[in-house]
Amino acid sequence: MTFVKYLRTPLLFLLWLLPLVAACDLIEYHPYSVDTEGISDVNAAQMRRITASCAGCDTLRFALISDTQRQYDETEELIDHLNRNDSLNFVIHTGDLTDFGLTKEFLWMHDLLSRLRVPYVVLLGNHDVLGNGLQVYRSMFGPENFSFVAGRVRFVCLNTNAIEFDYSTPVPDFSFLSARLEEDAAMPGLRTIVAMHSAPFTEQFNNNVAEAFEVGYVTRFSDLVCCLHGHGHGYEHRDLYGDGVMYYSSPNPKKRHYLVFTVTPDSYSYEVVWF
């Protein structure tokens, strides 16, 4: 009556085999585990790729995508479509990778985005903060405010999801913007694009400072091109403040189109690309 003998009975053999076959991917300790499987500082690495590959470029072409949450099928098609475009320099994702802030959602979307041939950066969306999503975002992608230079354009990427934070966390972070403005003065000749997830005057934005954000910071960049955002789930182009600064909203993948921007030293254009 040995233990091994009973493992050999046909019924038990099947019983033991089943979990072992599937075991590898199926183990999850907690939906909000923040087990990022060793993926870290994605944005920093991608920004280095962007800066290196765009060095010396006069004309810059990038795609704007956003709000890919829970749209894995459509995002897969979107990424296949982006990969067929040889003229792209990089891709900006303006946040909401996830719908529930689950660690697995971050990993699934990272798996998809890492299929991109060109480098990409990911901003923080309001859904990405849910639960302990902020911890996942920070460890996988890095700080929620960051900036990088591509060719002759500097991209300032901001966390604007104020409703997800309390007052002790500055959202948008004016001291971060001040530091970028100081750099701006030290590096003449660079154009600036400001990217964020939630646009001013949405329910997410800290609208008490919406005016100060535009007048005190955004419009003070020496050669502002435009502002980019997501959160609206549809393509929109609006002069939000009536001051000539355009805010472009990226559609989500379900809308089956995305925006491609072309920035030259003295102008810019964009097109809506369907897939």
């Binding site: 009556m1 009973y6 009975t9 019924l11 038990l12 019983l15 089943l18 979990p19 599937a22 075991a23 590898c24 991917d25 199926l26 183990i27 999850e28 300790y29 907690h30 939906p31 909000y32 585990s33 923040v34 087990d35 990022t36 870290s40 829970r70 749209q71 894995y72 099928d73 995002t75 897969e76 719908d99 529930f100 802030g101 689950l102 697995k104 959602e105 699934w108 998809l112 859904h127 849910l130 639960g131 302990n132 911890q135 996942v136 460890s139 409703i163 329910e203």
Partner: protein, 255 residues
């Protein structure tokens, strides 16, 4: 104006209500027909019966001759005995912690129903703290098949049920905090609802040296309501993405 007790968490209010019910129960039982008491104090009656059987006609008469407070005490003891947990479970993974330990009750015909309470621990990984998760699980086991070739072994080819888990961490909420517009996210980050299917093998250890009557090994595959929503309409996701596997041992102590 806040209504009384509105700042007490719902679970605490439920616990207080249950305590109040238990305290009130003895009064209600006094009023009840003593027939119920006779049935439940049968064990006590059986012990006493041989000593007094000679002088009385039957068991029912014996029990009737016991003072009412003794019968009521027997009834209450039997009631509390049923609240004693009957087994111990240790589980690995399953979206409720790296390791969970718990206890529970089997009941119903052939003990086909089980209710577990588990506490699970998740290491902190890249988070700032470890997570402690409480789980309430309801399980149904429709069949238990004894193995002819191995009389001490039995197989439960299907276990199924659902469990809800809650994480003790103030970053997670059951209801959206007031700062959000109404019905902004429409789900709870704190409470997860899961469905599961599994299988189990049980080996009887009934011998003089064994600490437990039997030990079961089980595994189960579960899906949370959030992963179900993600899997719905996304052929990109495979079952290995959204299903969660758990292994566990059940030590039968009192059942």
């Amino acid at each position: 104006m806040k209504s009384f007790g509105s700042d007490i968490p719902a679970c605490l209010r439920l616990a207080l209500f249950l305590c109040a019910c238990l305290l009130a129960f003895p009064l209600a039982a006094q009023e009840a027909d003593s027939a119920a008491c006779r049935v439940d104090s049968a064990a006590c009656g059986a012990v006493l019966a041989p000593a007094v059987e000679d002088s009385t006609a039957g068991g029912a008469g014996v029990r009737d001759s016991l003072p009412r407070y003794v019968r009521h005490a027997d009834f209450m003891r039997a009631l509390w005995d049923r609240l004693v947990p009957q087994y111990l479970k240790v589980q690995y993974a399953g979206s409720i912690g790296l390791v969970s330990i718990g206890t529970g009750w089997d009941y119903g015909r052939h003990d086909r129903w089980e209710t577990d309470l588990l506490v699970g621990f998740t290491p902190k990984y890249e988070d700032t703290r470890i997570k402690v998760t409480l789980t309430l699980r309801q399980q149904f086991t429709p069949w238990s098949l004894p193995l002819k070739r191995a009389p001490r072994w039995s197989v439960e080819p299907l276990t199924c049920g659902l469990f809800m888990s809650t994480t003790l961490d103030n970053r997670f909420w059951t209801q959206e905090p007031g700062r959000y517009p109404n019905s902004y996210y429409n789900f709870s980050t704190k409470v997860r609802f899961n469905l599961f299917l599994g299988q189990q093998v049980t080996v009887s250890l009934a011998n003089r040296k064994a600490l437990h009557r039997a030990v079961s090994f089980y595994y189960q595959l579960s899906i949370s309501e959030l992963n179900l929503v993600s899997a719905w309409g996304n052929s990109y996701l495979r079952p290995s993405d959204y299903l969660s596997l758990a292994f566990g041992l059940k030590f039968h102590l009192l059942d």
